[in-house]
Symmetry: C4
Subunit: 371 residues, 4 copies
């Protein structure tokens, strides 16, 4: 299934190569939408710049026999601490969209998180993921559902129940994007497949009277009460996604969620936010053993992943590179991209003398003085 | 009145867009004059670079019902902590100059500070501001007068009395620009409308004998004695504008002024001066509860404003963007520009989980390590 | 022998000039291979940037009579603390490859380290080096052999015995490059002359099943046990090359090796590694008087060398500049390049008021605040 | 005399403007020689970058009546803490060379330091300087002689005696340039006018045998013994020029010299040296009240000068801008350039609220965080 690598230009060897090739494969508006950040793009730039604030130190001459990238979360094995991030409207990048990406992830036994704003229904994606695993006689990889709370709570509940029924194993509640600007219009034929028949999120007004404050959009922004409600209606593990502070950890623990995805939403929500990597060590220290901290934002290589793991992250989510690989070569592209990352992570662990994930710790980090 | 938005290019969505479009709308000499800084432009560059020394931290999942940008100064409500800075000769940017800018501010209920060097008389501007509010059945927004001390004290007093009579609610005394270089010549038809019949400021010599020291210009530079004199002749609140040090705060308090506008004069006076934002926290700490600190210099977005408020500023003044918006679309441009800023400030407050201005404090700030 | 300087363009006066001229002298693929770093090239860039983190302080008005660059290692005199680094396949840069470079080094009485991956056999190179010294009636300069452990230990032993027999005076065991990526294919006619008839290193798989971990390549990566084995089979001094941490020093001492070459392998192995210069002072302090620390990476001038010596390095290895000089002018180029470095080192020592190598210490260093 | 300003392009208003215009006025080789630094040019770049590490803080609303830039050194008044640095071969920039520069300095009552390597004899320059003052009925400004020690001590003594006889008021002994590289060849007609008939400095060999160490050049490099000798043969004040460390201060005091010129020789001697400005505060603290510290390197504006004075410098020397102004407009150019600097220094002092030089102290400085 993923063996049709002929669509992949032979000069592509890194995720940066995918990014370089993707632009030519996409309509300009889609490319701009995928690549864009918020405002001055400072959060977007930070997501990459943050990795350069660290260097990695080898533990030389270590025995690598029996080495493995395996890790565990919520009592479940992951072949590597890498998952596909919840990306909206993947059909923007390739006609097969989420179907291709989910199958590629399944082929690589890599966890996949489906966005509420999927261009394919959550049931179809779950089925595609399972078929791919079966077809390749591989174990079924973790499949999670990302939830945007809907204007009507009943619709949110419907999404949760559908995810549970389709076999999704966890709910990732995104809390940072209820209120943000977007000027992008979806092309014809692409829509939020999971939300058909549901009330649409309200837009904030753009002229006269109230601006944002005092409008239904602001009044309905999610609060801790919504987290508590979600906790009360499902037994699936819940992850809160979109935090960049340690402050929220205590409250998150108290609300009964199982994990946090540290994220500035790919720099797309607010240009004032720091990179998740820049606050990772602080948040991990605050969380202690109470909650695992997952992270996304700007990951493009195995050494990027090793850096985050050494700073205490449990799992890393891969976002825009999925779009880039989809655009270049669909299912094969995503599978190849994930294989590159896994290879690079193993190379990084070999260089660092860390045959197991838990050996990647702060002893492997050197602060990097750039100037 | 401000509904004629057809003059605004549809691709303009940010203040940076206005700046980009403005150059083509202006004679090169005016554009250069508006954009220029002093000497090596280091103060001008710092004004923008200073914002990148901070990131902003959300207080997630906060209830936004009842949120508001309202603030209060000198016992007077402001719909938001945003005012139009005192900009000289606004007819350089648009034939309607200060008339258009003041009306746009009134339409947005935004405070407006008129420069002594207005290209329209202070009486006309005050009248235009009030008519606009009446026409739109809006409350009258704060209207202040910026004072440059004149060579003859009697002329300074005349300006104060005229401002009082015209209903200006505060005097902003600019103290940093008595002595500076300028090679710009006003185009025909633009002049200092408020100063007709008054003695002109003396120029410093450029050849032979004394240079600056020992000339009437240097000998007449304003001193604390002038502040005390101004304090003695008017009951209006007085703000001192053009400070960038904490040292002056005690003396300012002792002299009986009501507030300080921290400013390096848009980087136009002296390239050795720091950005106001870089000294803001220090000056706010020095002032304590004795004096509110307003600030200007380089503000271009809602997150810029949120940063200054979190550092302790009471109100932010918007300068060059008024020129840019005037140049692009006159009154409608300025109204649109102010609306963008208000929208962005609300978005920032929503992202930061701060439904009220006073909740923006140092807990929302993270020092940003750029390298 | 090295007097034929007519091949050297007269405008070449520095190592940077050699680098600039070399590109035009080489096939693009060879040039790219020589210049390339790993991944994002951050380790490669750091190797140069690290020097700019220091400035050097003169000890003015010092008497320079009797000044000398001489130093001593393993009971052996070196005319200067400069050696030629072990560079693979020098025939990529010039048809005479290692023969030319070794002769040039001998002519300048400069220590030479031959790579296991030499394009000329170690016996021929040793002979060429000795003949050059004899011909010029110069003392024989130090000649060392760099060892990559071979898949079959018997082959490694054969290499050690051949090196001993050919008169090499030390073994430099490279420990950081067992596992790394390379897409470069050697041109026809260039091969690993020392390894004829030996088993080739295994490649890690690129599709299906195991990636790196679990493959013979990973399982056979060198460990401390291999160092102990090497220690047990030869009486030559052993240097471990490819460390960038202080952690490994204690273990290195315990394993009985004589020295460490601090190196990130020219930034070619892993882009997460720091520059050797950035960890040099820390590693020197950790080593104390137990082990001398040699260093390579990015050295291009006498002040670069002086900086490393002041940070505590015993000897500096010169890598890519040997390729550049070979490419431009073969033997004469390398001799000229080494002469430039020696001249610049003397100039630096004169400026710093250090007539002897051991006077270059931390008192000559000023941390440089770049921004 | 200096009123013929018609040769000065009207768009020249700053020293940066002179630099921009000068290139077109000079042969490429001369321009390159004047502008060049040593090695990687890092010392040259630092000389400018160092100013950006500071911002200046005003003392607002200060009374400027009676303000003056006057200062005092060796019991002698200077109209401002600005002198012309000793620049070799000024005829490279303009046919009138040192004659023009010295007359311009005299016209501005500015101290002038003549280089040993003057293209005009020291006697002619002294006479030109005095005539210019007389002609303009101005007080005679300070005139100093810069000394390079000659291979034969008798020649050095002759230079000192000639300088004394010609009325030079101090000797500036340059100690950092005895050994340095230069590939520049003087154009026909330009020579070291003061050294006719004296033994030439020895060149260091460039091929075979000794490089620098062991040659007469290195053996004759000046030492503290030479300073003590100079001290014993003249009663003129002696300044040591070319230090960038605090270490040398105690020894300098003990040797009986009167002052230090902190300098990295315009970045021309050794690229490892720091900028004088970056070590200024440290050296001033070390010197205390024992010795005044003068400084040069990269000064291009009044705020640059104010920064150095606030860091504790007594006087600032202006180097390359003299070449630039000579190249553009000869005597008038230098006079205009010095007038610009004086004007800018007065503007800076006015902005900083410092009506006297001694008020420029560390209270006016704010460290500038560039990133």
């Amino acid at each position: 299934m993923v063996d049709d690598l002929s669509a992949i230009p032979p000069e592509i060897r890194t995720l940066a190569d995918y990014e370089k090739h993707a632009e030519a494969c996409l309509p300009a508006a889609s490319w701009d939408h995928i690549q864009s950040g918020s405002g001055s793009d400072s959060a977007l730039r930070d997501n990459r710049a943050a990795f350069d604030r660290w260097r990695l130190l080898p533990n030389v001459l270590t025995d690598l026999r029996g080495a493995s990238t395996e890790t565990e979360l919520f009592g479940r094995a992951h072949v590597a601490p890498i998952m596909v991030a919840p990306l909206a409207y993947q059909c923007l990048a390739h006609p097969d969209g989420e179907m291709a990406a989910a199958r590629a992830a399944a082929a690589l036994e890599t966890g996949f998180i489906l966005s509420t704003l999927s261009s394919v229904s959550l049931e179809h994606v779950a089925q595609a993921s399972r078929s791919a695993a079966r077809e390749l006689t591989k174990p079924v990889a973790p499949l999670w559902f990302q939830l945007y709370l809907q204007p009507d709570r009943a619709d949110s509940l419907t999404l949760v129940r559908r995810a549970e029924a389709a076999g999704y194993e966890a709910i990732v509640l995104t809390i940072d994007a209820a209120i943000k600007r977007s000027e992008f219009t979806l092309p014809a034929g692409i829509e939020a497949a999971n939300l058909q028949g549901m009330a649409k999120p309200r837009q904030h007004s753009v002229a006269g009277g109230h601006i944002l404050f005092g409008t239904p959009l602001a009044d309905a922004a999610p609060t801790w009460a919504d987290v508590e409600w979600l906790r009360s209606v499902t037994d699936l593990p819940i992850l809160l996604k979109g935090l960049v502070t340690g402050e929220a950890v205590d409250r998150a623990v108290a609300s009964g969620v199982e994990a946090i995805v540290l994220s500035n939403h790919g720099g797309r929500v607010f240009d004032g936010f720091p990179a998740a990597l820049d606050v990772l060590a602080h948040v991990v220290a605050r969380a202690g053993h109470r909650l695992p901290i997952l992270v996304d934002g700007g990951f493009r290589s195995g050494s990027d992943i090793a850096t985050a793991l050494a700073l205490g992250a449990k799992v890393v989510l891969i976002g825009r590179p999925v779009f880039h690989a989809l655009a270049v070569a669909g299912l094969s592209g995503v599978a190849h991209m994930l294989h590159i990352l896994r290879t690079e992570l193993e190379l990084a662990m070999a260089q660092l003398g860390c045959p197991r994930i838990e050996l990647l710790d702060s002893g492997r980090l050197l602060p990097h003085r750039q100037a």
